[in-house]
């Protein structure tokens, strides 16, 4: 059964927009799961079940790693640190907020990814064209999230998106090490989710301790 390219691309676009727009303490885990699921149809159509397993396992591992790291950090007796969800610098008064900027970034990523997909051939063995859109879109959204990042969580989400996008693009390129490259790229999202979860848990421990003292 053939795969509908427009459907696969639409799913990737929805995943990219979700990952770009998501904020808060669960942002990294939500973004990783969204991008993993969004790229799954594209990866499965290009690389088969093995590639699908790599991406889904990475997304699941990232979700588990984020939750586990947060739970462990709440119990560990380490120094409290920075909150990854608090902006590093105070935002200025501006017409559009950070999420509006990111949605705009999602919009301009569409033509950029489309151009790359249809104009730049990839392929280690056989040259292919037109299959790169989902990966290119996720990568472009991730890079733009890095560029407009205001928090550590933004950096973590951006890094996971570019890792998944880059890995999926490497799979489209093909060659003997296609799955290996995808697996290498997919190893970053669980690490980023664990780091963000750890920082969040460590900070919330301090916040809850301060609340208990005040009470």
């Amino acid at each position: 059964m053939g795969v509908s390219e427009p459907l696969v691309s639409t799913i990737a676009v929805v995943a990219g927009v979700v990952a770009l727009a998501v904020d808060g303490r669960q942002a990294v885990s939500i973004a990783v799961v969204a991008v993993g699921l969004g790229l799954a149809p594209s990866v499965a159509s290009v690389g088969g079940g093995e590639a699908l397993l790599v991406v889904l396992a990475s997304a699941a591992l990232a979700a588990v790693a984020g939750v586990t790291a947060r739970a462990v950090a709440r119990r560990a007796r380490w120094d409290a640190g920075l909150d990854p969800t608090v902006p590093v610098i105070a935002p200025r008064q501006q017409l559009f907020g950070p999420r509006s900027v990111r949605v705009f970034a999602a919009a301009i990523s569409l033509p950029a990814a489309s151009w790359v997909s249809f104009n730049v051939p990839v392929g280690a063995v056989a040259v292919v064209q037109g299959l790169l859109f989902p990966a290119a879109y996720i990568w472009t959204c991730g890079a733009l999230r890095l560029v407009v990042a205001r928090t550590v969580a933004d950096l973590a989400v951006g890094a996971t998106m570019v890792a998944f996008g880059g890995g999926a693009a490497w799979l489209v390129r093909g060659g003997g090490d296609a799955i290996t490259g995808l697996a290498i790229a997919s190893s970053l999202p669980p690490l980023a989710a664990a780091a963000a979860g750890w920082l969040t848990g460590r900070h919330s421990r301090r916040a809850s301790a301060a609340g208990a003292r005040a009470a």
Binding site: A124, L146, G158, A159, V162, L188
Partner: protein, 413 residues
């Protein structure tokens, strides 16, 4: 010892040293991290290294990479010993970034190369933001990580050997060059380094100065050979960004004071090394770049330490950066100029201007009391640290006295 084992030792040593420092309060134990890493690297299996641009799947560290890691570990150890305060997490960052550097120097797969640079730079950025949340450290997270992301984006378009038509070679070369420029803090993406490096403690910026930037420079030396069709585009970007960084960095070095002046000089030297990569003379670019790196390995911990680390020794360190014989920077810059001179008259003028301004900046800083009280953490050092500073400065002059021998010992023939 294979690459995985070496990287594991770096990582384990860093985490172990952090636990040791926090439980015993003995900050000297932080040196366990670079020492264990250097020891493991010394026993690493050495073999030929393939450019990531050629998209191989081998994972071998070459002799130059091995020497670079060991010298970087020595430099980081000196930075630890010269630091006034340590909380132990410096060792963990050393382990993380050291392990990432091992993979970056060994990888011939562009995906692995870019992912480890992204991970290493990301970890360092989180550390910088945690220490000092500011616009500068946020930029230190945004720009270089986006650069590493650009390297990852270039991966699917590689290799470009034999591809001579269409936009693919240009896209690959553009992404590779953009990524290298951002990671090496060259113009137009170098603002983050000029803001971050002078603002943080030497021990906090040392992982970028001694591990990541040298690793990126060394791997970038091999890219033109792997992108023959796109070699012109990649080389042109490196040449212009490198020369612009060298001229601007040296001009700003004349105006700046203290640590900021050293940072500008370091970035100017990185610019000259990057420009040489774009000259199509890889041998000269590699030799000159390694000599420059070796000099900064010896001097960076001293120059990034708080002022007062021995007035006379510090002034002598500025002399070592002047670029006149027999200083080590003379030989490094001389070889780089030899490569750049073969490009054209505009490049000759720009590189000479940069070297001249660097000389002027170093001489101004070496004058008695020129730097007095102009730095953060103005403090005097005790006897042991003074000795260490002298050892580092004299090591730099020893490199200048026998540059070929020093380079051969550290990086192999």
């Amino acid at each position: 010892m294979n690459v995985y084992a070496v990287a594991s030792v770096w990582l384990g040593g860093g985490l172990g040293a952090t636990v040791l420092v926090r439980t015993t309060r003995l900050k000297l134990l932080a040196t366990v991290a670079p020492f264990a890493g250097a020891l493991a690297t010394a026993f690493a299996a050495v073999g030929p290294h393939l450019s990531p641009a050629l998209t191989g799947d081998a994972l071998t560290i070459d002799r130059a990479g091995q020497g670079l890691l060991i010298a970087a570990a020595g430099s980081f150890t000196l930075a630890i010993l010269l630091a006034r305060r340590l909380d132990g997490s410096e060792a963990a960052i050393c382990g993380l970034v050291g392990a990432a550097t091992v993979f970056a120097l060994a990888a011939s797969s562009p995906v692995l190369w870019s992912i480890v640079l992204l991970a290493g730079m990301g970890a360092l950025a989180v550390r910088w933001i945690a220490i000092s949340p500011s616009r500068a450290t946020l930029a230190g997270g945004r720009v270089p990580t986006t650069g590493a992301a650009a390297l990852l984006a270039a991966s699917p378009f590689l290799p470009v050997v034999g591809v001579i038509t269409g936009p693919r070679p240009a896209i690959a070369a553009g992404l590779l060059a953009g990524g290298i420029v951002a990671l090496l803090a060259l113009i137009p993406m170098g603002g983050w380094a000029t803001a971050v490096l002078p603002a943080l403690r030497g021990i906090d910026v040392a992982p970028w100065v001694v591990f990541l930037a040298p690793a990126v420079l060394l791997t970038a030396e091999r890219i033109p050979a792997g992108t023959p069709a796109a070699g012109d585009a990649f080389g042109r970007v490196m040449l212009s960004a490198g020369l612009a960084s060298a001229v601007w960095g040296s001009f700003q070095a004349v105006r700046a004071q203290g640590r900021a002046r050293y940072v500008r000089m370091l970035l100017a030297d990185l610019g000259l090394s990057a420009a040489a990569i774009g000259t199509a003379h890889p041998g000269l670019a590699l030799t000159g770049g390694l000599l420059i790196l070796l000099t900064h390995f010896a001097l960076a911990p001293v120059m990034l330490a708080p002022v007062g680390a021995g007035d006379r020794s510090r002034r002598l360190a500025w002399v070592a950066l002047a670029g006149v014989p027999p200083t080590p920077t003379f030989w490094g810059r001389f070889v780089l100029l030899e490569a750049i001179f073969q490009v054209g008259s505009g490049e000759i003028v720009a590189s000479l201007l940069s070297v001249g301004l660097l000389f002027f900046a170093a001489v101004m800083a070496a004058l008695p009391r020129a730097e007095h009280g102009r730095d953060i953490g103005d403090a005097s050092y005790g006897g042991g640290r003074r000795v260490l500073v002298w050892v580092a400065v004299l090591a730099a002059f020893a490199i200048g006295a026998a540059p070929a021998a020093a380079s051969a010992v550290v990086f192999g023939g």
